[in-house]
Symmetry: C2
Subunit: 370 residues, 2 copies
DNA sequence: CTGTTAGCGCGTTCAT
DNA sequence: ATGAACGCGCTAACAG
């Protein structure tokens, strides 16, 4: 069998606890003993058993990260933010992908709770409170990311969806568009709702009648974007611009537009939430309201680690990160030429951190590229 | 604290083992006892502790999947194949991303061995044998995917890189190209080598002099493709076609070509290994030799599960999956129009499975779309 | 049908 | 500076 701490001890002629002290650099061990132990470890290829250690400590030093779409660069970037900060603090991260499927998400939750992960960073598949309540019922810390979950007291890190949508829509309005369709995500997800709200506020502010609003809901993926865009293209009069509620919706919409023989931005302007990596080779390059994905992951992990070390206030906290407008070719509003605008570095500014009842959504922090 | 099996037992007025039997549906339990136990479980929100169970069983029912680039749809599809089959067999999968970094890979290996995962599906970051040897030294089953690791006896599932590259290059030759550059991956990775070999064989078969060969090595990502393509574009005479050794290299190459004001396929034809999802919105849609990513993951998992149940032969096995040529617009060889060819369903045929010394690489199984 | 005993591998506590 | 005993939560093997 694979060697245990006892096998190593025997071979080194010491007690198991001495091996433990060598492995963990704890307590006193004489040089002589240490060397004999290290030799034995090497000889036997001893690998300590984390299971036993965790059982003893009642701590696994593992965090769970649950995202809704691992194929979206936005979420892999968030994941990197989580993982980097977690690793720097001696935690491992288990990454789980729910594909926006609540059943799959709940299966994962069960498994992860059974594995006794120390904490959760959760991007909820839906707005239901139960999943969060389940975690909290086990006294395991959890931080929610991106999407609000009504009815629970929980830390959350999200972006300023409403403000970003407002900025993007206003940009289109300033370019003269009057028929702008919103291609949004599932109706029961807060970001989809808030981005539509921002879109509506912009139209309202521009003095457009409520009838000017055209909102489509679909899934947050290229298929959803394709479907809603096709529906929007069938409107009479045809919209002259699309506001897509995330990057993948925009990618699908772009395909739909090109498929019916129209051009972006000449025939239909296109803007969206979330950035797309430059190499993604979407052409024309997209005008976006970009979220700081990496920081989002980092910030969520920071809140989680605070809870784990009991340095956190008891009240739930809400962190709202600003978004940044990048005007590029797809909206027809870029200043120069046709070459892809290089990716603008993310803003260093953080959103406001508010505690308890004094939550203040950050709205005007959003930056514009003139 | 979180309740244990003993707390439940006490509340239900039974012994811990009875609770265990209820939870695991093992052994005999009277209806009355079962109901009292279930009530107690619900009351206490009891969640069994997998750590303790695993310690007892010396089995975790967890598989590790280590891939080199989680942002590439090819690998996420492989991952889905692994996960689906693993889940169907009662295993959970821990997905780890090495970013082609051997150090990161080895860190993961250590952690995962300490966690006592039951098996590994490994896409090696490099060709070094040590990582595989490390796993095997712990008597943990491992199946290697995609890239050969010389010097070790290990199950491997890979695609027919040489044959696929040959087909793609021949396709370009048949279209009349005589200056074809190969944009490949890192020189020390078997797939990069074999794809160059297939490219060379095609040129040789066409009677072209060795001087016609132009090979560039870079990383397997858009940046690598961009860099090698820029270098290739500087050649005199300029190549009229590119063979890219994977999808992301092609994406980067496409960008490079467009950036210097040339068009694909009119000025430079482009073909590549691996497919790209239709929604990826690369335009023009790529001519590819597509690997059966999902089957690759499934097949690897199947081999691994066999080893875990001791149903496998002792000798290492090699499975070579065929690749399928999809001729689309980027090579200039598509038959009809300019609309993107819909993704052709993956072939159902499997590659040959060979055992021990009788390995036979599958070469001619590759299908062509005429 | 149910319970008792014992041990999986490790590290804290308290001696020596 | 080193070790013995105990227990983390769970379940196989054996009573009863």
């Amino acid at each position: 069998m694979t060697p245990t701490i006892r096998d190593v001890a025997q071979r080194a002629g010491v007690a198991p606890i001495t091996v433990s002290r060598v492995v963990n650099n704890s307590g006193y061990v004489s040089q002589a003993a240490r060397q004999r132990v290290e030799a034995a470890i090497a000889d036997l290829n001893y690998v300590p058993n984390t299971l036993a250690r965790s059982l003893r400590f009642k701590k696994t030093r593992v965090l769970a990260l649950i995202v809704t779409d691992i194929t979206n660069p936005f979420w892999t970037t968030v994941a990197r933010g989580v993982e980097d900060l977690a690793n720097a603090n001696g935690f491992n991260v288990i990454l789980c992908n729910t594909d926006e499927d609540e059943a799959k998400q709940n299966d994962y939750l069960q498994v992860l709770l059974q594995k006794r992960v120390d904490g959760f960073v959760l991007v909820p598949a839906r707005s239901a409170a139960d999943p969060v309540r389940l975690i909290q019922s086990q006294k395991v810390p959890v931080v929610v990311v991106d999407r609000e979950v009504p009815g629970v007291e929980v830390d959350i890190v999200r972006s300023d969806s409403e403000g970003g949508a407002f900025q993007l829509t206003r940009h289109l309005l300033e370019l003269g568009h009057r028929h702008i369709a919103a291609l949004s995500g599932p109706e029961d997800i807060s970001t989809a709702i808030q981005r539509v709200a921002g879109y509506r506020r912009a139209l309202r502010d521009a003095g457009l009648p409520p009838s000017a609003e055209t909102v489509f809901h679909g899934s947050y993926d290229p298929e959803g974007g394709y479907a809603t865009a096709r529906a929007a293209l069938a409107l009479k009069p045809r919209p002259t611009a699309f506001f897509a509620a995330n990057n993948f919706i925009a990618v699908g919409a772009l395909r739909a537009v090109q498929e019916v023989g129209l051009r972006v931005p000449e025939d239909v302007a296109l803007v969206c939430f979330d950035d797309v990596p430059a190499w993604f080779s979407v052409d024309p390059f997209l005008t976006v309201a970009s979220q700081s994905a990496y920081q989002m992951g980092q910030q969520a992990t920071e809140l989680l680690l605070e809870r784990l070390s009991a340095h956190a206030p008891s009240q739930p906290r809400e962190v709202v990160l600003p978004v940044q407008l990048h005007i590029r070719r797809s909206s027809g509003g870029a200043l120069h030429g046709t070459s892809p605008t290089p990716s603008v570095p993310h803003t260093e500014r953080w959103g406001q951190v508010t505690i308890g009842d004094e939550r203040v959504a950050v709205r005007s922090n959003t930056t514009e590229v003139p």
